[in-house]
Point group: C2
Chain length 227, copies 2
Amino acid sequence: MKKIYQGKTKDVFDLENGKYLLKFKDDVTGENGVFDPGANTVGLTMEGAGEAGLKLTKFFFEKINAQGIATHFVDADIANRTMTVLPATVFGEGVEVICRYRAVGSFLRRYGKYIKEGDSLNAYVEVTLKDDDRNDPLITDSALEMLGVMDKNEYKILEDMTKKIAKIVKDELAKKGLELYDIKFEFGRIGDDKHIALIDEISGGNMRAYKDGKYIEPLELERLMLE
Amino acid sequence: MKKIYQGKTKDVFDLENGKYLLKFKDDVTGENGVFDPGANTVGLTMEGAGEAGLKLTKFFFEKINAQGIATHFVDADIANRTMTVLPATVFGEGVEVICRYRAVGSFLRRYGKYIKEGDSLNAYVEVTLKDDDRNDPLITDSALEMLGVMDKNEYKILEDMTKKIAKIVKDELAKKGLELYDIKFEFGRIGDDKHIALIDEISGGNMRAYKDGKYIEPLELERLMLE
């Protein structure tokens, strides 16, 4: 197998059998040693972050697959920190789809004239371009279509899938007394029919979870979810 | 009559007869003495800018009214630099609606991974919140609805009106050998039926126009259009 991509938090290998292998690292995104799920830089290395991230990803992807929602997940090997997936092509050079239940992060920074920190948002979905140099700019469905990233029908599918998947995650967190504030997903097109599927991972680094109004760090979130 | 609002480029008075009076100033937006239609600060004062802006606004609003598109424009008094308008309530605390024919300005800064400066855009419409402190953030139709600024039907109307009005301006500029790259409008709700109408002004400060690939300053644009 050969390495085809080296990412911030994981590497990707071609298994040359029609599937890919993701290797989870112990690096997490953040700045100046402080974890930030919205950051574009690797801020720190946390012992055990890769394994915990993979375990949580396996946990959620199995639940999502079981609901009949398409993902790239095939199986996971926790001891080796690897996950086997179906190859996917991303939209344009990659987009992130965010689902928000409460106003925090970049949403609050943008729309603070109209809302206060922590205000409820009704599973609001928005899309940003993966573009470190431009700080992952927000983009509308019209602009995505005009720039050839996806058409409006695909945008509707993404929005719908995002709400369904976020609800699954939110409900699982609620079982442990945690509240999901926001979560970001990546999607790709899979197979000959190019159907839209959830890709990448779902771990503490992709979401903001709170317990009794207090933010829970990714490793602590993973511990609480998997214990 | 009493002053009810003091703006960056014009003041608003209540005529107490059901109409308002806008008084155009010679101040234009920009930074460090350089004109920038996207800037939130008054950068410089240009002798004659108020009168030229009002003349061009009268020119365009009369054409737009004549096409049966609702505006707040009633009439203009060039000598006194005033314009009589119907009172309007803005969306939320104000939005700007931008129509883009070529990639420049904030669009290029956001989406430069996918387009080059000056690339053609197909009358793409986007909405930003008027919020100087947050640098007029881009906002989607879904977020506008969630934040109570406007519903999705109003967004569709705004988008449609914007394309029609921008086309009128583009065609008028083309008659003078000028090419419209982008233009921003403001809209409000007018009358008992709260119908959506174009408000504010349409002058050099609201648009970017080019001649043979060279940007034309607002006062020069107004001179070329009105000569």
